[in-house]
């Protein structure tokens, strides 16, 4: 559908002209870069770590059935109820089923991009349930009725002043633009929610097959509280989150932190293997794990791009992407933005509808360089372009490139085209920068260099003896 592509271009136009927004993002991402470089440097061999992480995830994904079954067997043995959802709709139904069975009213959530993917909050709110995001960034964008801006930093586009105004308006708090004050306001509000919520809902960073545990990485402690206090706990995760062994976390937890936020390790890295066990005095009485496919198996079937499922959702590729920096997260119009979003969204939501994200890249390769598990992101963008053009070629583009090949392969025709170009450029000033200009895409903001008075080929000919 052209609509998504048009919407993207419109948003991109608006955001790239918003210099204030560009400055906010550049500043935030530069801060990230400084700490990230420091944490990377502490590794004895960051590149070798990347290779090991990449190989580990290759093992996990290429033996996904084996490891998934092992994970399920182990976590079920501790009393966890595991549910399998092929689609987002099914996942929502499962979660609704649990909520209704428990006669629950209030749900507290910790950060789960997968829940964004299936539009869970909207569905819950429509059905009349009280759902609150406990991660500060998510809490902020939920109040603002916006989607998260970035998979790791949901509110990075907002200034403290904007957040202060938002809190004053929605929470009735004393207006402030002090980050500490604002954080404490959120802390106070949410504290009661943890204690009174009927259901806790989390995502997961990893699912350890060997020991049947969910691993959650965070800084605030909101996931820990979500998983500690409510009587019923649900964890929603994509099937690709699997890791083979417990000690794989010794590598992945520091790498996720370093690439994701620039920290050596985040504040809390917790493992959950079941509901409250005999002898334990707190924790949920019931624990449900919902495994989501939602077309991940389609991406799995694309062997060329299968490694996109290695993604650990660190956000590093977003942080280094010059496109992301200039258009921001909301412009992408879909749950997963930045380079990884551009790679996987065509698989999860349709190639023709979402191919434009793969074209909206200069293929600089910074993403691939940054990825802690060495996903070949920018090459996948090229493959998406190829797949899209093969599946549904644009008639005029195909013709244009056939012409291009024709011209480039025939010196005489190339020569002719050159002469024609020289002639045409005499008239170009008449239309330059206007809608009639065939090179309008370029000339709207840039000058085009003229064909040289003597091209290289012409020069070279003059040097040939005889």
């Amino acid at each position: 559908m052209k609509a998504f592509a048009e919407e993207f271009k419109q948003q991109a136009r608006r955001l790239t002209e918003d210099l204030r927004h560009r400055a906010i993002i550049q500043t935030a991402l530069h801060k990230y870069e400084v700490v990230r470089d420091k944490s990377k440097a502490a590794f004895q061999d960051w590149q070798a770590a990347r290779q090991a992480a990449s190989e580990t995830k290759w093992d996990a994904i290429n033996h996904l059935d084996t490891y998934l079954l092992e994970f399920v067997e182990k976590i079920e043995a501790r009393g966890t109820k595991v549910h399998w959802a092929s689609t987002g709709q099914q996942a929502r139904e499962i979660i609704f089923g649990i909520i209704r069975e428990k006669k629950a009213r209030s749900i507290i959530k910790s950060k789960a991009m997968t829940s964004e993917e299936i539009h869970l909050n909207d569905a819950l709110e429509e059905a009349g349930f009280d759902v609150v995001e406990s991660d500060l960034g998510e809490f902020i964008v939920q109040l603002k009725r916006e989607a998260p801006y970035h998979i790791v930093f949901p509110a990075m586009h907002l200034t403290r002043g904007e957040i202060g105004e938002l809190f004053a308006r929605e929470l009735g708090s004393v207006p402030s633009d002090n980050p500490e004050d604002l954080t404490m306001i959120a802390r106070r509000v949410l504290r009661q929610k943890y204690i009174t919520a009927d259901i806790g809902l989390t995502g997961a960073n990893f699912a350890v097959a060997e020991t049947g545990m969910i691993s959650i990485t965070e800084n605030e402690g909101n996931a820990r509280l979500t998983a500690a206090l409510p009587k019923t706990l649900i964890s929603l995760l994509g099937i690709e989150k699997v890791l083979p062994s417990l000690e794989d976390l010794a590598l992945f937890l520091p790498m996720l932190a370093t690439a994701g936020t620039g920290q050596p390790l985040t504040c809390y890295n917790s493992l959950y293997g079941g509901p409250r066990q005999p002898g334990e005095t707190d924790g949920p009485e019931e624990y449900h794990v919902v495994l989501l496919d939602n077309r991940r198996t389609e991406l799995l079937a694309d062997a060329e791009q299968r490694d996109a499922l290695h993604c650990i959702r660190c956000g590093a590729c977003l942080n280094v992407c010059p496109i992301f920096r200039n258009v921001g997260g909301h412009t992408y119009g879909t749950t997963y933005s930045g380079p990884i979003g551009s790679v996987i969204t065509p698989h999860l939501r349709g190639l023709q509808d979402w191919k434009h994200l793969s074209y909206a890249s200069s293929l600089c390769g910074a993403c691939t360089e940054a990825c802690p598990v060495k996903i070949n992101l920018h090459h996948h963008l090229l493959q998406n372009r190829r797949n899209a053009s093969t599946q549904k070629p644009s008639a005029h583009e195909k013709l244009a490139f056939k012409l291009f090949a024709f011209v480039m392969n025939r010196p005489a025709v190339y020569e002719f085209a050159k002469r024609a170009g020289r002639l045409a450029q005499k008239f170009h000033p008449l239309v330059r920068g206007t809608r009639l200009d065939p090179a309008y895409g370029w000339t709207k903001t840039r000058d085009l260099p003229p064909v040289a008075k003597q091209t290289f080929k012409e020069f070279w000919k003059t040097r040939k003896p005889g």
């Binding site: 935030a28 590794f43 004895q44 960051w46 070798a48 290779q51 090991a52 990449s54 190989e55 290759w58 093992d59 033996h63 998934l68 399998w84 092929s86 406990s134 500060l136 902020i140 930093f153 403290r160 957040i163 980050p179 604002l182 959120a186 802390r187 204690i195 020991t211 800084n219 605030e220 402690g221 909101n222 820990r224 509280l225 500690a228 206090l229 099937i239 083979p244 062994s245 000690e247 794989d248 010794a250 937890l253 520091p254 504040c267 809390y268 917790s270 493992l271 959950y272 293997g273 066990q277 334990e280 005095t281 707190d282 624990y287 496919d293 198996t297 799995l300 060329e304 299968r306 060495k374």
Partner: protein
């Protein structure tokens, strides 16, 4: 067919086509594509693979020994202590090395007075029992089922731990070693009482420890606590005490 079978069928169908193994280092014996169990067996020549719960506290040999790439940790106790101290400072955890239990008790009482503690959250343990006695305050004890609002009104949560990790400045806790899931995260100040022998080098050691101590019957909750709770969600500015404790104080006995 239920959804589980459908999903597994799709996975198996997808995996009939091989994906390219990541370029870079290759294992000459297996051509590079090594699954987890094989990884475990490809140990170093001198260290055989051990999988039993009774393995010693050395890391399971693995082709992917993260120790080679993670930040370096010194060999000696002093080096580890120094590294843990350095990390604690950066994380804004307070770290005290004390000589004996009396000193712990004294320090806790000083904290109690300085911070005006009225009620403490605690669990029973060798070190925590003594701390409880010394502080002589109303308690919420999490060894038996407790009321959350009771814990919420505590000024401090005092726990023991499974280990302190030098490499990262982390405290390793489980539901069994630290009085449940909430005690170390709900009250605004978390105090950890640890013993010297609990200071271990790095994350690989930590996971080996967990396996040794709990394999076959893991607690349902395990956590690596690395400093006080924090957020950078507002303009990337660091604020402590977002939801978890704003203060973490660690005593090493």
């Amino acid at each position: 067919m239920n959804e589980k079978d459908k999903i597994l069928a799709r996975i198996r169908e997808a995996l009939t086509v091989r994906a390219h193994f990541p370029g870079g280092r290759h294992d000459s014996t297996t051509g590079g594509e090594v699954g987890r169990d094989q990884r475990a067996q490809l140990g170093t020549p001198t260290a055989p693979f051990v999988s039993a719960p009774h393995s010693t506290l050395t890391p399971r040999p693995s082709r992917f020994d993260a120790r080679s790439w993670l930040p370096l940790v010194g060999e000696s106790f002093e080096a580890r202590l120094a590294l843990f101290q350095k990390n604690s400072t950066e994380l804004k955890s307070t770290f005290h090395v004390v000589d004996d239990r009396d000193q712990v008790s004294k320090s806790l009482c000083n904290l109690r007075d300085a911070e005006n503690w009225k009620k403490i959250g605690i669990h029973s343990g060798d070190l925590t029992d003594e701390a409880n006695r010394a502080l002589n305050l109303p308690v919420c004890c999490t060894d038996q089922p407790y009321d959350v609002t009771d814990l919420e009104s505590c000024d401090v949560g005092i726990t023991e731990c499974d280990a302190l990790i030098a490499q990262t400045g982390s405290v390793l806790v489980t539901a069994r070693s630290a009085g449940g899931r909430a005690l170390s995260v709900l009250p605004p100040h978390h105090v950890v009482l640890a013993r010297r022998e609990q200071l271990i080098a790095d994350l690989p050691d930590a996971f080996a420890l967990l396996k040794k101590r709990y394999a076959q019957n893991y607690p349902s909750f395990i956590s690596f606590i690395t400093g006080p709770s924090r957020t950078g969600d507002i303009e990337r500015i660091l604020v402590l005490g977002a939801h978890g404790p704003k203060k973490v104080t660690i005593f090493l006995l």
